[in-house]
Point group: C2
Chain length 253, copies 2
């Protein structure tokens, strides 16, 4: 990101992106949507929701094909859930972080801590189909960025976003699970505040703030899974995976 | 918030707001800055950072006047901190949630869980002055909203934002600590997703997403503590305090 904060930002939902099918070319869908809106994909950040990335990458599981383990059956019985859904959640999890009040907070194999390991049944292609997180969301972002560049996009950062709960607050916010072509965290340490005092702990999670901003335009029922943000020129690079807190520094294991 | 997600958002930093002094009229500073930028404060959301609200409300403590308790002295010695700063943090805290790696995660008297109970020494009016959170940030937002309305603002939602760490991810994001004139959480439960399946757990923390978006324009060294957002028409109301998770439902006490 540019070192100074921008003075203006504009966010636009890319219109008319259809429900995505496995194997579809996301870059082509995004480019066509940008064309329709008269948007040139140059010097900005594209935020796409995880759901369309996962569908394009065929990260789908038909629950009919899932044999629930004993553990999954037990959790499902206690929490009044579909044991096949719980089984998929367990398979996607490195560990269960907390369980209670019918909620399963998991650490995914990537290291994200979220409800149900990000396995979702809403906006799925069918009533008994679970959508999993992308295998490597940073790689998904990088691939989309490269595919867009081949179609003429220039200086475009890409963020794959997903919706997260927070431990101490109700309501969900969007955060970045993958990024490419931008620095996910802006480090202001060593710079001075307005009074000349050195800023010692200010590291802004720029990618997460961009994802949250884009989330305002991504109503779960509005069919706008791709948001174009201008006013901020993406610079640098870095993976979201590398911004997850080191477990040894984590006070909330 | 309006039920459908907006298709476009615009964020503008209000220029030329000076370093705020205790007792200053924030609404007047915001109105003058909007005037300078040719912005009419009608039908949008104003996000102001906590720091200028706290300064205007004189939520300042001179460390020279603080007598550290034994507990504060012990923590300060172990964590290599200023015992007077730690004392102020303890006074602002209902409890210490976690302590480790030199970090003090506190639950404030309002119920926010954050580092150092939100007590900050950066961008303070002097080298040994601590800035505390507003006593009642929702009331601060409501007061600013009423003061702006008296100066001609119409249909303006107000958010007071502050910067928060997250347990599992590096980097800080801005979130709402006070709000007025808008629904801080948009409840989509009962609505259908794109496939007609009922959305059961989707409650978007709209105020937090707006705060995070505004945070992109609030560099800690850029002197832009007030951001104007259009494209989303504020509706309804509600306090941030009421969106903090019930401790009984909290898996991360």
């Amino acid at each position: 990101m540019s070192p100074a904060a921008p003075s203006e930002l504009r966010l636009q939902a890319l219109p008319g992106i259809p429900i995505v099918e496995p194997g579809q070319d996301l870059a082509e869908l995004v480019r066509a949507a940008a064309d329709r809106a008269g948007i040139a994909l140059e010097g900005g950040v594209l935020v796409v929701c995880q759901k369309i990335v996962s569908k394009a990458e065929n990260r789908l599981v038909a629950l009919a094909d899932v044999e629930p383990s004993e553990e999954a059956q037990q959790i499902a019985a206690e929490d009044d859930k579909d044991p096949r859904h719980v089984e998929v959640v367990l398979r996607e999890s490195a560990r269960i972080v907390r369980r209670g009040h019918g909620v399963l907070i998991c650490e995914t194999r990537h290291g994200f801590v979220c409800a149900n390991a990000g396995v979702d049944l809403s906006n799925a292609p069918g009533p008994d189909i679970a959508v999993l997180l992308p295998l490597d969301p940073d790689a998904s972002a990088e691939r989309l960025r490269a595919d867009l560049a081949r179609r003429g996009a220039r200086r475009v950062g890409v963020i794959v976003s997903d919706t997260f709960g927070r431990p101490w607050r109700e309501g969900l916010v969007d955060a970045a699970i993958g990024s490419a072509g931008l620095a996910p965290i802006e480090d202001a340490r060593g710079r001075a505040d307005l009074t000349g005092r050195e800023l010692v702990v200010t590291t802004t999670a720029t990618a997460d703030q961009l994802a949250a901003a884009a989330g305002l335009l991504m109503g779960k029922d509005s069919g706008t899974p791709a948001i174009w943000i201008t006013g901020i020129v993406p610079e640098g690079g870095g993976r979201i995976r590398d911004t997850l807190r080191d477990p040894e520094m984590n006070l909330f294991r």
